[in-house]
């Protein structure tokens, strides 16, 4: 099966001039046109929408089914927090693999610009009694991990700032990005401190927008252009309690055990033995620069102990495509990643969409030369839900 079409709205702080239906219609229409299908070809729809409270409407996706499919179409709504977009894609793949559908539209929608403050909504993901004494928020949750990474592996505040500056610089080539900022490391370090050691410009923005993918069985592809073939995909779920994950046998709180397991399965399905050499592009779902480094070891880009050196190489242009495209190894986040746009429900799907565009050679100014194989990650909950998806230019088994 393959991703036959990709559609994305621009990502903005708020789309004041577009209704929810407008956003979904635009993204789905673009994806269907890209694939060479029309709505009548769609057998099922999978919608990805994360916390309802962000949009202020319960089950907002139900109002826009008609924007994606003909009347009566089978419909599923997925909500796995930050991983919603990739979970929706995986559910769509399941329907195709099961033979339930030949053509599925998966869309992810975010309207968090309608929320007065997203943090108040995000705070309700934590226990209102046991955890309120710890001032636990999505930001302090990430800060806890960042400080643990610094203590255990030797990362510094400068690593977080330099990675953020790199992502923002890469996003300058992405016209869909919400933020276009050419930042120096010093400018990032001078931005307001949210929760030590995380600064404002090391954090993702609040963004709105919609992303859509058309997933089709191999024998239903119109054959009018390159597609992104799915070579492997998997997801795993972890315990909620962060305290239980500090030093358990399966891995520590910053080891991203679920991403490691998901990547192992996806790589095995794709026949990838040495990801650092066999993958051309990596799109990582990490809403903070400090969170991004947690994904490198599970994806096989470096060991946990070598993480700071790998980040140094990324920053200096000696690895991962460097800050502007040079350096050996997979190019990391050529789109700029979630720091450039973070429509929560859609962010993980955007990673897949960007990988699909890369292996098709259709990523515009952010295209990585010669990209043939890419991996996208999804991350949700308290680094609790992880997914990995491997896409390639050639079908499994070769052309």
């Amino acid at each position: 099966m393959a991703i036959a079409g990709v559609g994305q709205t621009p990502y903005r702080r708020a789309h004041a001039d577009a209704s929810t239906g407008d956003l979904v219609f635009r993204a789905v229409s673009e994806a269907l046109n890209d694939a060479g299908f029309d709505r009548g070809d769609v057998d099922a729809v999978v919608a990805g929408v994360a916390p309802d409270a962000l949009a202020g409407v319960n089950c907002i996706e139900k109002s826009v089914i008609g924007a994606a499919a003909p009347p009566g179409a089978p419909f599923f709504r997925v909500n796995t927090g930050g991983a919603t977009g990739s979970s929706a894609m995986l559910a769509a793949m399941t329907l195709v693999a099961a033979g339930r559908a030949d053509v599925v539209v998966a869309f992810a929608l975010e309207r968090m610009g309608q929320a007065v403050t997203s943090q108040q909504v995000f705070n309700t993901i934590f226990d209102p009694i046991y955890e309120k004494d710890f001032v636990l928020t999505t930001i302090t949750m990430a800060a806890l991990r960042a400080s643990l990474l610094m203590a255990r592996y030797g990362y510094t505040e400068r690593h977080w700032a330099a990675l953020a500056a790199r992502n923002h610089r890469l996003a300058l080539k992405n016209p869909l990005a919400h933020l276009h900022r050419d930042l120096t490391v010093e400018a990032v370090l001078e931005s307001p401190l949210l929760a030590w050691p995380i600064h404002l410009y090391e954090a993702c923005p609040m963004s709105e927008g919609a992303c859509a993918l058309v997933i089709a069985a191999g024998d239903r592809l119109p054959g009018r252009g390159p597609v992104a073939w799915v070579h492997g995909a998997a997801s795993y779920s972890d315990s909620y309690a962060m305290g239980d994950r500090f030093d358990r046998p399966e891995g520590t709180l910053v080891d991203l055990v679920t991403l490691r397991r998901a990547a192992e399965v996806a790589y095995r399905q794709a026949g990838i033995a040495d990801p650092a050499k066999e993958i051309d592009v990596v799109e990582i779902h990490a809403p903070f620069s400090s969170a991004e480094v947690m994904a490198y070891p599970p994806l096989g880009l470096c060991t946990p102990e070598d993480g700071p050196a790998y980040v140094d190489a990324l920053i200096d242009g000696d690895a991962g495509g460097g800050s502007g495209g040079g350096g050996p190894g997979p190019v990391v986040n050529p789109s700029g990643g979630p720091m450039a746009a973070n429509p929560v429900s859609a962010t993980a799907m955007i990673r897949i969409a960007e990988c699909a565009l890369q292996v098709r050679g259709a990523a515009g100014d952010r295209q990585v030369d010669g990209a043939r194989r890419a991996v996208a990650t999804g991350q949700g909950g308290a680094t609790q839900f992880s997914s990995a998806c491997v896409l390639a230019a050639e079908p499994p088994g070769g052309p």
């Binding site: 089978p74 993901i125 909620y240």
Partner: protein, 398 residues
């Protein structure tokens, strides 16, 4: 469709239990389903759950609830949809070869929030909110339209009364469900367990016209879990179908559910007809939703849905929404009820408010007991907004 079987199930429908929090309720229900299946958690390689944040009272409630449903370091996905849709996706994972044994779980505790307030949030706050739309008021509009089309003769009213009476009787006969619940009007919390309150008459005006109090759902705390796998068992999943309605109530023919008709048509094996059904567990918020669902499912002709509910012993032996209701658990509850009735007289470990299941030797439950020869069962689940999306599941006794 590839082999997919019901291994085990557990259902809890009851009043609020102050001794257990939500995760404990989920964990214990899933544990009982695994025990019913004779499975260890290590044998499970997939978890699919259905839950709504606003019902659970916290955003991304699966963060804390998914592990309780057995999802620790497993492939888990949560749908913000009806539990029957979760069942369908879990079965699709088996059909695709992605998993061999899956937990499906859904829950909702009506005691945790005002169902009407949650339902109001389903509608656009600018264009629809001012009209006071809720799931229940749309159901009332549906009843009004149905009555306008089919209820102009006197027999419709007697059928309505008979259907109400049978529904209440079935719910009362259902071990532990309505019998232990106060038949609370919509939006009113049932009393805590052990409060000693008898069932008071519903408050005047609680039922939006033309609905009557006895036609309303009985709000309850519900948790349901099923274990399905590719291992042969007494109940096989024979077909699954889906359908949907337009979003806006104004764009629908409220006296019908064409999306459900589509779902049922897709679910039935090609060589069978809906009329072959021996057991039908139909999800519906109110009596009229159940009657219209019976018509949409092909179990009654248009206009005969109430009469079918009153007289057709195949339909909703469990008592339907009168035996306890809270979205998004009801579609999976209907599937579990159907599976349970198919596999009787095997003893089940599932529990209704602490009492024995139908089929237990100690229990009367005559109205719940289907014919021993029952082979085909249809179960349906409908989801927001106002039964907009549907899942139909056909089960076959082996």
């Amino acid at each position: 469709m590839p082999a997919c079987f019901v291994d085990g199930l557990a259902v809890e429908i009851g009043p609020p239990d102050p001794a257990r929090n939500l995760t404990e309720l989920i964990f214990q229900t899933v544990r009982r389903a695994l025990d019913d299946a004779g499975r260890d958690i290590d044998e499970v390689d997939s978890v699919v759950i259905a839950a709504h944040d606003l019902v659970d009272g916290r955003s991304l409630s699966s963060m804390v609830c998914a592990p309780a449903a057995g999802a620790y370091l497993k492939d888990e996905i949560r749908l913000g949809d009806d539990g029957a849709a979760a069942f369908s996706l879990a079965a699709a994972r088996l059909e695709a070869g992605e998993a061999r044994c899956s937990i499906v779980a859904a829950w909702g505790r009506a005691s945790e929030g005002d169902p009407d307030a949650i339902a109001r949030a389903l509608f656009d706050p600018i264009t629809e909110g001012p009209f006071g739309l809720t799931e229940l008021t749309v159901s009332a509009l549906r009843a009004s339209q149905w009555l306008g089309r089919h209820g102009r003769n006197g027999s419709a009213d007697s059928a309505r009364a008979a259907a109400t009476e049978r529904r209440a009787a079935a719910a009362s006969a259902h071990p532990g469900a309505a019998r232990r619940l106060v038949a609370a009007p919509a939006g009113v919390r049932p009393p805590a367990a052990g409060s000693g309150m008898a069932s008071p008459p519903p408050a005047v005006g609680a039922a939006p016209w033309p609905l009557r109090p006895g036609e309303l759902p009985c709000w309850a705390d519900v948790a349901v879990a099923m274990v399905i796998s590719d291992r042969e068992s007494p109940v096989r999943v024979a077909g699954i179908g889906h359908g949907s309605e337009p979003y806006s109530p104004g764009d629908r023919d409220l006296a019908g559910l064409p999306g459900l008709t589509l779902a049922v048509r897709h679910a039935w094996p090609s060589q069978r007809a809906p009329g072959d059904v021996d057991i039908a567990e139909l999800d519906g918020l109110t009596l009229f939703d159940e009657a219209i669902a019976a018509e949409a499912a092909g179990l009654a002709t248009p206009g005969e849905g109430l009469r079918a509910l009153a007289a057709d012993g195949r339909i909703n032996r469990s008592g339907g929404s009168a035996a306890g209701y809270c979205a998004p658990a009801m579609g999976l509850t209907r599937i579990a009820e159907a599976a349970l009735q198919l596999r009787m007289p095997e003893r089940s470990t599932h529990r209704y408010g602490g009492q024995s299941a139908p089929g237990d030797a100690s229990d009367g439950g005559a109205d719940c007991a289907p014919a021993r020869s029952a082979r085909w069962a249809l179960a349906t689940g409908s989801s927001t907004v106002a039964a907009q999306t549907h899942t139909a599941v056909v089960l076959e006794a082996q």
